[in-house]
Amino acid sequence: MCLIEPGQSGECRVRINIDGVLRTVVYGFPCSVNPYDPVEKKPLFHFLPGTRILSVATVGCNLHCLNCQNWEISQKNPEESTAAFLPPERLVQLAKRNRYLSIAYTYSEPIIFYEYTYDTAKLARKEGIRNVLVTAGYINPQPWKELLEYIDAANIDLKFISDDLYRRICSGTLKPVQNALVLAKASGILVEVTNLVIPTLNDKPEQIRELARWLKTNLGRETPLHFSGFYPQHKMRHLPPTSLKTLEMAREIAISEGLDYVYIGNVRSNEGENTYCPGCKGLLIERKGYTILQNRLKEGCCPDCSQEIYGVWK
């Protein structure tokens, strides 16, 4: 938690103490509104596949990852940024008018535009529009539980399985993220987890194994895990991009540890993009990039062995 002196902002830069009152300067002011993302890009592979999702973000973030892939908005001061005025009611009407099934609060970090996310999600729920969070999960339990009541799915980063790396690389800690993951799963929403594999930092087999084991024990084997390829960005331009070989190694380890659905992202991979039945290993959903080539699921089950497949399919 930040203790904010009058006139100062928190670590996120967008929550400010003005005369003893905490104010959010980004409520209703997104810097990014993107209509074209497929839901698979979040990445969410087990939630309304093949649909478009209206994605929105403001500047700011309560972490400061040296490798941030969205640093141009996440590490931006609001006074140096450009935004549009789009209060919750208008955002929901925009989604409804354009027939979006869901809205994603994403790119930077929805936790720091918490009130905007919460109010929009509440209105969207009333209109039958679903809500998706793409977040680092660095939040305390009470506000997290309140927000989850209006959320339908979340992709949550588990950046490292080491508290030391969370502190050194992200200026955060591991425990709140793990707690947020467990609470999210327990709340009943669809949860998928992303781990960005960074060469020399968290790409060792024993680290992958530990992460996969933690996931299986605490979230369940059915929780999809995405290993995402790193590209040199922000303050980590000296590292090479993650190789496909490393990502495939990570995927193999996670599958051998008993996880049912393990994917490779940000890098083209044939098998790593597809969904296979954990029962009979049959191909269920074939993807090329973010495009669905075929979806064989029948009422959310494998057409061959009738195994129920974890996900929100309609």
């Binding site: 938690m1 930040c2 203790l3 904010i4 002196e5 670590e11 929550r15 003005i18 009152v21 905490l22 104010r23 959010t24 300067v25 980004v26 409520y27 209703g28 002011f29 990014s32 509104v33 993107n34 209509p35 074209y36 993302d37 890009k41 979040k42 209206l54 994605s55 973000a57 500047v59 969205n70 908005i73 001061n77 609001p78 006074e79 140096e80 940024s81 450009t82 935004a83 549009a84 005025f85 789009l86 925009l94 354009n98 994403t106 790119y107 918490y114 009130e115 305390n140 009470q142 506000p143 309140e146």
Partner: protein, 74 residues
């Protein structure tokens, strides 16, 4: 003092000590951890909702046509 009275007194003192320690721990938890990021002082455990501001501190532009893809796409 008889032996019985002594034992009773001992039990009473022990209970007071245990109860007092328990209250002290509870009080510390309510006031305490985690420490503030800036000051290192213990923080109140209270979720504070932020109020919105009317004016954006940066630059405002009209919402662009959402039929065109923007820069941020994941």
């Amino acid at each position: 003092m008889t032996r019985r009275k002594f034992i009773q007194k001992l039990i009473k003192t022990g209970s007071v000590f245990v109860t007092g320690t328990w209250f002290a721990r509870v009080g510390a938890t309510l006031c305490g951890c985690p420490e503030g990021r800036h000051t290192g002082l213990p923080l109140p455990r209270k979720f504070v909702r932020a109020f919105r501001v009317k004016k954006y501190p940066g630059y405002l532009r009209p919402l662009q046509d959402i039929s065109k893809q923007s820069k941020w796409s994941g």
